[in-house]
């Protein structure tokens, strides 16, 4: 029995090491984008981080099923969406409003910072059906087809949603400008 275990170990160790390396590469390559996607989907930092942790743990457990490294991004997005859906099955969390989250980038001017905060507020205010495809495009640079495949929609629906999302953003920005103009004038 011990002899057998030993021979298995000598096979298992290099396998575990290469799996470990592959996992770490996956983490480094995608954790930032996956977190941002989770954040915009959930609009809560702590919950987003939890979901990202669960996503990567699940990814580790089924890493062997990821045959094609090119598909890693889509694969992770799929896992994350599933984990997020599972969260709703369990319990609805209270999410913090996006405006409570302040993000400072010291290289930005005050004006840019105001604009960025405004854009974030507007992004967060989009309904989920518009926000999600837009974030997939902005964060991961996915094409219309890829977003359609990910969200299980047809491409035209995705294009329409992207169009409406941007249209809404633009209208809101124009409204802001008009308001600001009135204040200034």
């Amino acid at each position: 029995m011990f002899k057998r275990k030993k021979t298995v170990d000598t096979q298992v160790l290099p396998y575990m090491k290469s799996k470990q390396r592959r996992y770490e590469a996956l983490v480094h390559a995608f954790h930032a984008d996956i977190y941002r996607y989770a954040y915009w989907l959930i609009k809560d930092k702590a919950v987003a981080e939890d979901i990202v942790q669960e996503t990567f743990l699940r990814a580790w457990r089924s890493l062997d099923s990821l045959k094609d490294n090119q598909a890693a991004k889509a694969w992770l997005i799929t896992i994350l969406r599933r984990e997020n859906a599972r969260r709703f099955e369990r319990k609805q969390f209270d999410t913090v409003d996006i405006e409570d989250v302040s993000v400072f980038d010291e290289t930005m001017s005050a004006e840019q910072e105001v604009q960025q905060r405004e854009l974030r507020r507007l992004l967060a205010s989009l309904s989920e059906e518009y926000r999600e495809p837009l974030i997939l495009q902005l964060v991961f640079g996915l094409s219309g087809e890829e977003i359609a495949a990910q969200l299980n929609l047809n491409k035209n629906t995705v294009m329409t949603r992207l169009f409406r999302a941007r249209n809404q953003l633009r209208e809101s920005l124009e409204k802001d400008d008009a308001l600001r103009g009135r204040h200034n004038g």
Binding site: R36, Q53, V103
Partner: protein, 234 residues
């Protein structure tokens, strides 16, 4: 391309390389301006979407994976340990129970015979009655008369039971006589045999006698001989 379709395509993807969109923009400065404006907005949006990543998120993700793997491994080895421990316990317990059974000395005697075969007399001088009785004394017994041509008399241990072993030359080849003290935790079979030897036992007042000889030897004369000549002190 009309204005609405142009806007629709640019809104859907400001980074589009659609030839028709490009051509329409080249022909119409108004469309070009709109597109550039959208590209700028998109850059800003991309920037805005880049929220700050929690400190050390990558390390946390790698750490939680190793912790998970470690816990899993530990669980697994704990399971092995539990199994090994319970096996060891079971073996230990059954061994103890098994050995607490009364010792059956028949097989012990037969095993002993194999070694006794090679045993040499300690001296060329034949063993006399006095020597035999001196050793028998510790069993509270003595022979009234010599029981035959005793070649060797010696103590031996049958499964930790101290016994006296006499090897005799008889007309039927070598025979062994064992004198074994009576004890509660040992049992002596009346008859026992393997493929080379067989033996017969008799229980007496303070000790048991076993006579062992080659397979075809008649043991009864020797057994009677010993029974008649052995005496136990009271």
């Amino acid at each position: 391309m009309d204005e609405l379709e142009f806007r629709r395509r640019v809104y859907a993807n400001p980074d589009t390389t659609d030839a028709e969109v490009v051509k329409a923009a080249q022909q119409d400065p108004g469309k070009r301006a709109f597109w550039n404006e959208q590209k700028k907005l998109d850059r800003d949006l991309k920037q805005a979407a880049k929220v700050e990543i929690p400190d050390d998120l990558a390390h946390k993700l790698i750490w939680q994976q190793s912790a998970y793997e470690f816990a899993r491994h530990k669980r697994r080895s704990r399971w092995y340990m539990a199994l090994a421990a319970s096996l060891a316990f079971t073996i230990g317990l059954s061994f103890t129970l098994f050995t607490r059974q009364p010792l059956n000395l028949g097989n012990e005697v037969l095993a002993h015979m194999v070694y006794a075969e090679d045993e040499q007399a300690h001296s060329a001088v034949p063993v006399d009655l006095r020597q035999v009785n001196a050793k028998l004394a510790s069993f509270g017994a003595s022979f009234t008369d010599m029981i035959g041509d005793v070649e060797v008399v010696n103590y031996c241990h049958l499964q930790s039971v101290r016994s006296l072993h006499l090897i005799l030359n008889t007309q039927q080849g070598k025979m062994s006589v064992f004198v074994v003290p009576n004890r509660d935790d040992i049992s002596l079979p009346d008859n026992f045999a393997d493929d080379r030897y067989h033996g017969q036992g008799v229980h007496m007042q303070r000790a048991s006698i076993m006579v062992v000889g080659h397979k075809n030897a008649n043991l009864l004369p020797m057994l009677d001989n010993v029974k008649q000549r052995i005496q136990f002190s009271t």
